[in-house]
Amino acid sequence: MVGASNNPLRPSYTVFSYLRRQREYAVAPINPTIEAIDGVATFPTLTAYAEQCGAPDVIDVFRRPSELVGVAREAIAVGAKAIWFQYGVVNQEAISLADRAGLDVVVDRCMKVEHARFFGVLAAGGFNTGLISSRRRGVPARQRSDT
């Protein structure tokens, strides 16, 4: 997560805090100005992350629009499969760069909200998840097919 913050008032903290509690993801904060967030060590750059941990699957971006072309170039260079620009984090040149390099690109969406939509908790807030199904959820698909 590029631009993750340790300030609890910032969305870039809220989303980091939410995602790292989901068991299915490992989330790494990228921020050269702080050392750690809630005990999770940060990396100064995407390049530094990739050198130590390999290519990331998805890069979630919380940076000013003017910084995004640089972020997109770095994302392409480290071999990311997808780049996700949060609410208001929009720069057409950065989007085109990532798109032309073959990355999946998500723009002006919140990863926390979209995660909550597909894993059932967004419905708790009366939001229109768009999900319609008569299958029983809350039970992993593997278990269901075994029974």
Partner: protein
């Protein structure tokens, strides 16, 4: 996980939206979660929930699983981002106003809307320091001229109550948006089956869910649906775009993006006003929604037959046929006294102050809600002494017509 991306139709969503099988038990009907509060998994989870960093239920004044199912279904049917249910339509309206406006602000509302809306905006909310200008629905230029720099919303009814006048939602949306304010539409009389204002540019839809949504006259409820498309960060809505002292100095537009309005309306306004819907009422409303389309078809068909019948009767002076929906007025020859005799002679039609029931309903404003007014005062209020309002139900129209025929004869035979 759900793999398909199908856009389901209205009838399917009226039955399924918001109600997948209960994950805990597999119950296919939505359970009535009759609980005040919810146990936290850990102190850490509790802290995340209170800080709005995680989603889940804390206390049923703020959210409840049965109520959330109703909210999601309404959001789906109206084509909105989300919905919030309230204890009544007027509670939904009050909380909608408090979500965007504070003392010193101003609202614009069309004239001849529901009387409860006129007193809520024009008297109670005015006492809270938020002033409303009422402008004629048939004069868009006057509505446009009523908007001031401190105006926070434009409010209209899809179908006026009781006038039956239709609002041009697209025209009003354009007026509102060119002034940087949201268009709020009361869609109670039309329901999302007959009209979906958000598809025509409205930003917020409010309902008295007591009427057609419930459909059987069994509960009082209200709901608001928001589109998620209005730019609340346009500089005119500091309640949403500035740090909120009501919630840890959170800036709702920055933290929640398109969800800013709904998050603030629930986490601050519903929390502090306390006008939440009860789970049992949500359950009745969910049951009502399953047949909304079927019922509306028949309501409209029956209303057309009744209006056509009334036009043939010599006792009837005029009929204001419904352009949309099943609620309309007609005038009896013989004025206020004929109206009284007509109502007293009815056997099947219920004389009461509600609309949108499966049972056919009737009211004579001049002898009930407006009985203290002289004939001149009545006309000034837009009500004729001979006006009778009908809400046509789902009974056999032959039986409804039989009852009306008898009562019309008695009304005329004094």
């Amino acid at each position: 996980m759900i793999q398909h991306e199908r856009e389901f139709g209205f009838a399917t969503r009226a039955i399924h939206a918001g109600t997948p099988p209960d994950p805990a038990t597999g119950a296919r009907a939505v359970p009535i979660y009759q609980t005040a509060a919810y146990v936290f998994g850990s102190t850490e989870q509790a802290a995340e929930l209170f800080a709005l960093r995680s989603y889940g239920h804390i206390y049923s004044r703020i959210s409840n699983p049965t109520v959330a199912a109703f909210e999601e279904r309404m959001a789906s049917l109206e084509g909105g981002l989300g919905a919030i249910a309230f204890s009544s339509g007027l509670a939904a309206q009050l909380c909608m106003v408090l979500s965007v406006a504070e003392a010193g602000d101003h609202l614009v509302c069309t004239q001849n809307v529901y009387g409860g809306t006129v007193t809520q905006l024009g008297v109670t909310i005015k006492r809270m320091g938020i002033e409303t200008t009422f402008a004629p629905v048939e004069d868009p230029a006057a509505v446009r001229a009523a908007i001031r720099p401190n105006t926070k919303l434009l409010f209209v009814e899809t179908i006026g109550n009781p006038s039956g006048a239709l609002a041009d939602v697209e025209a009003f949306a354009s007026i509102a948006h060119s002034a940087g304010v949201p268009l709020v539409v009361d869609n109670t009389f039309a329901t999302p089956y007959l009209c979906r204002p958000i598809e025509r540019g409205a930003d917020i839809v409010v309902h008295s869910a007591t009427k057609f949504i419930n459909g059987h006259g069994t509960s009082i409820g209200g709901v608001l649906v928001e589109s998620g498309k209005f730019p609340w960060d346009n500089g005119s809505f500091p309640l949403l775009s500035q740090p909120s002292p009501g919630y840890h100095q959170k800036v709702f537009t920055e933290t929640f993006g398109e969800y800013a309005f709904l998050m603030r309306a629930r986490a601050e306004v519903l929390r502090d006003v306390g006008a939440q819907m009860a789970p049992m009422d949500a359950w009745l409303l969910l049951l009502g929604l399953e047949t909304l389309g079927l019922r509306m078809e028949r309501h409209v068909e029956n209303a057309r037959k009744i209006a056509a019948f009334l036009k043939t009767r010599p006792e009837v002076a005029w009929v204001r046929e419904p352009e949309l929906g099943s609620i309309f007025t007609f005038g009896l020859r013989g004025g206020r006294d004929a109206g009284r005799r007509f109502i007293d002679a009815l056997e099947l039609w219920s004389h009461l102050a509600n609309v949108g029931d499966s049972k056919s309903l009737v009211i004579h404003p001049a002898s009930t809600t407006h009985s203290q007014l002289s004939d001149e005062e009545l006309r000034a209020a837009g009500v004729q002494p001979e006006s009778v309002r009908l809400s046509v139900g789902l009974e056999d129209t032959d039986d409804l017509i039989w009852d009306l025929t008898n009562a019309l004869q008695r009304a005329n035979s004094a």
